[in-house]
């Protein structure tokens, strides 16, 4: 019995290194889609853009760089996270699903037009760093108001980044909630909500300071997902400048 178990472990280890070729026929993809809809939409949504699970409509999956990794993630899940093992699928079904997952990526096959070096200069000139953190030589630098952009190139498509810069309020990241409270004493605090429950709320202001309140001590709480503290850069950037800035953002691929 013990020997059998050892053999199984060795077999799994060997599989870890195994390279996998995903099937590519129309029937395989159609079958992969059906399997995906049956088993993955629950968390990842029908087009992979997420719900409870990670965004699979990305150009590069951080944990699934190779097709072999992708197949193994589907087969075994990601231990310690909510990502379950699809142990109900045969190896063939796993690869069909994986092929469909790859087809979900909103890939911009055309290379991004702009120049990332110019983009970095524009990032500095327009004060993006006042609100955003990116990794630069010497460490993570920047402000706290907006999301960390160090790996934004892995998380979002170029099209989404363009929209984020031109009309920031159009789609806020899921966990971003602009908040404003007025205390009974008349003090106003604005920023992003970092915690809220039935009885308390905590807000981080533009300077990165945290403020935590008992709701019972507040005059008002306002939350507005239709607004963003980020200004629109629609009229501040020429078209080529916008391309450069996007090229810079796409180049930000710090591993998580």
């Amino acid at each position: 019995m013990r020997i059998v178990l050892l053999w199984v472990c060795l077999a799994a280890f060997a599989q870890d290194k195994e390279d996998v070729t995903l099937p590519g026929t129309a029937e395989d993809l159609a079958r992969g889609k059906k399997l995906y809809l049956g088993s993955c939409t629950y968390c990842h949504g029908p087009t992979g853009d997420g719900g409870k699970g990670a965004d699979l409509a990305r150009r590069e999956l951080v944990r699934a760089k190779t097709d072999g990794d992708l197949a193994r993630i589907i087969e075994n899940g990601i231990p310690g996270t909510e990502m379950p093992a699809a142990w109900h699928m045969t190896r063939r079904e796993v690869t069909q699903t994986a092929a469909f997952v790859r087809s979900l990526a909103k890939v911009d096959v055309r290379a991004v037009a702009g120049n990332a070096v110019n983009g970095l200069a524009l990032y500095g000139k327009h004060g993006c760093a006042g609100c955003h953190t990116v990794k630069q030589t010497g460490g993570y630098r920047g402000g706290f108001m907006g999301p960390d952009l160090s790996s934004i190139g892995l998380k979002r498509s170029a099209a989404h980044l363009r929209e984020a810069v031109l009309s920031p309020a159009a789609s806020l990241p899921d966990d971003f909630m602009p908040a404003r409270v007025v205390t009974k004493g008349g003090q106003t605090v604005e920023g992003r909500r970092v915690h809220e429950d039935t009885f308390t709320i905590a807000i981080r202001d533009a300077a990165g300071n945290n403020h935590s309140f008992l709701k019972a001590g507040l005059q008002s709480v306002s939350l507005d997902r239709n607004s963003s503290p980020m200004p629109s850069y629609k009229d501040k950037l020429r078209d080529t400048e916008l391309d450069d800035l996007i090229a810079y953002l796409v180049s930000l691929k710090e591993p998580l």
Partner: protein, 526 residues
């Protein structure tokens, strides 16, 4: 000194025993909590009032017992004469001193390595009868343990875990029988309710929650779909001594979101079934959601209420269902008396005179997905409601949330997930929860207490004019049962997925709640 006291309590247990009559008369012993819902009537109401609306502000932690496992802690402890029995997922049963939380014994079951489950490996508690504790294990066995020592008396297989069966429900001990069912609703099982002889473990009867060939209602499943139609059992039923029936809520039909392969009403999924305790023969059934395609299990504890309906005394069973409607039925025959939504719903125009939902077109899951309220988690889920005879109010943990529902393909394979789709949150919706107090005669809202997020935390009402419950975000709190006013709260910062209970020992009342990975027990500051 302390050790001696513990030993004497354990001794007291073996001397006193819990014959069926004691459970039947449990209202005479409010210090004890003999069965999952506290009482056969499923009310989760206690007539203890040492802790009451006037002094609950002084409630504080008496002790904490850590589970040592990583599973969601969903147990309701039982308490008998100062001794507590509880379970910890995936595979542990424990006995504790109720005053200190000290461990008296611990039973751990070895679980098969190839066990496949959809939704974690929780367990909701044990049953006790005479000197034995009964435990439904995650690999679908029923196990009898010596109440004093935890030693196994017998172990029977209910069903083969390899084909997707499991057990998470607290069994119900009635007369000389132990009644429970099998979970596995996402695996294309054929659901059932079983009764076992409490002494020997021999199976006394099995009632399939899906009729087979020759049974009445067999035709409500197209083709062979009945064989894999699920209708699982995973929340404890109630017992009505007057009619000698036990009433259980059944799970959804499988595959969950793809109804094309199982045309028909799919009886007795999403229903209450009332079964004769001696024979296992069905007396009546009432299906809340015919041909469900949203995973709206009817696995809510049936709440038996003796009250008045339209001026006349009536024996009723009430439930707030996952499908968003509150129902009152006549529990002698399962006849529909009244029903009304208790949360936002967009799938039915209403209920007709027989209580059948008038389903709106276009509310089935599709490949592209469509938004329907309530969400998959339902208007409420398995967390226990409560009914207080003192206020004549029905309390329910309500969930205000919708979902996009998707239909996918589902091929049945033994032991394999059989879903046929899924759901996704509605973007930019601000879901919330509420504790709602309903008039059981009309379903009208009397008061509500809102929580920031929808909760799946059960309710306990007490004669002290209190309702205890919690939030998914870690607040355990007490409300005034008459008005809904917040009276006390405890910030645990741990999620809750369980039901509160209460007991007393040595003249002191305690309230117990499983929070995160520990059991918290509260008493009054001296």
């Amino acid at each position: 000194m302390k050790i001696a006291a513990i030993l004497s309590l354990a001794g007291a247990l073996s001397a006193q025993n819990v014959p069926f009559q004691r459970i039947l008369d449990s209202q005479k012993e409010p210090q004890n909590w003999f069965t999952y819902s506290g009482n056969y009537n499923g009310q989760r109401h206690s007539s203890l009032d040492l802790i009451h609306a006037g002094n609950v502000k002084r409630l504080k932690v008496a002790w904490v017992h850590h589970s040592g496992t990583t599973e969601s802690h969903e147990t309701t402890p039982l308490v008998v004469d100062g001794v507590m029995f509880l379970t910890e997922g995936p595979n542990v049963v424990k006995s504790l001193d109720t005053r200190t939380g000290s461990l008296l014994w611990r039973y751990e079951r070895t679980i098969p390595k190839d066990l496949r489950l959809c939704c974690g490996r929780p367990n909701r508690g044990v049953a006790i009868l005479n000197d034995t504790v009964y435990y439904g294990s995650i690999d679908a066995h029923l196990i009898a343990l010596d109440a004093r020592t935890g030693r196994v008396k017998w172990d029977v297989e209910m069903a083969d875990y390899k084909t997707g069966y499991s057990s998470t429900v607290a069994p119900l001990a009635v007369k000389d029988k132990i009644i429970l069912g099998a979970a596995g609703g996402e695996f294309g099982i054929r659901g059932f309710i079983d009764a076992y002889d409490a002494k020997t473990g021999a199976r006394a009867w099995r009632f399939y929650t899906i009729p087979g060939p020759g049974d009445p209602d067999f035709g409500t499943w197209e083709g062979d779909s009945w064989k894999v139609g699920s209708a699982a059992i995973w929340t404890t039923g109630s017992y009505d001594p007057e009619t000698n029936t036990t009433i259980w809520g059944t799970g959804n039909p499988g595959p969950d979101w793809n109804g094309d392969v199982r045309k028909g009403d799919n009886l007795y999924s999403c229903a209450f079934v009332a079964v004769d305790v001696d024979t296992g023969v069905k007396r009546w059934h009432y299906q809340f959601t015919p041909h469900d395609t949203h995973d709206w299990d009817a696995t809510q504890v049936p709440v038996l209420i003796d009250g008045r309906f339209r001026g006349a005394p009536r024996k009723m069973v009430a439930t707030a269902n996952r499908n968003a409607f509150f129902y009152v039925l006549d529990r002698a025959n399962g006849k529909f008396l009244t029903g009304k939504p208790f949360v936002k719903q967009t799938w039915a125009r209403g209920l007709d005179d027989s209580g059948r939902p008038q389903v709106l077109p276009g509310t089935d899951p599709t490949e592209a997905g469509n938004a329907v309220w309530p969400s998959l988690a339902g208007g409420t889920n398995w967390a226990s409601p409560s009914y207080s005879p003192a206020t004549n109010l029905f309390y329910v943990p309500a969930r205000e949330q919708g979902a996009f529902y998707y239909k996918g393909e589902a091929d049945y394979k033994p032991g394999v997930i059989f879903n046929g789709g899924g759901q996704r949150v509605v973007p930019d919706e601000q879901p919330y929860g509420a504790i709602r107090a309903l008039d059981p005669e009309t379903g009208n809202l009397k008061w509500e207490f809102r929580t920031h997020t929808p909760a799946n935390v059960g309710l306990l009402s007490t004669k002290g004019n209190l309702v205890f419950t919690g939030s998914t975000q870690g607040d355990f709190f007490a409300l005034n049962a008459t008005t809904g006013e917040l009276l006390w709260r405890f910030r645990s910062n741990g999620g809750m997925n369980s039901n509160p209970m209460t007991y007393s020992v040595d003249g002191k009342q305690y309230v117990a709640m499983a929070i995160a990975r520990a059991l918290y027990v509260f008493d009054l500051m001296e």
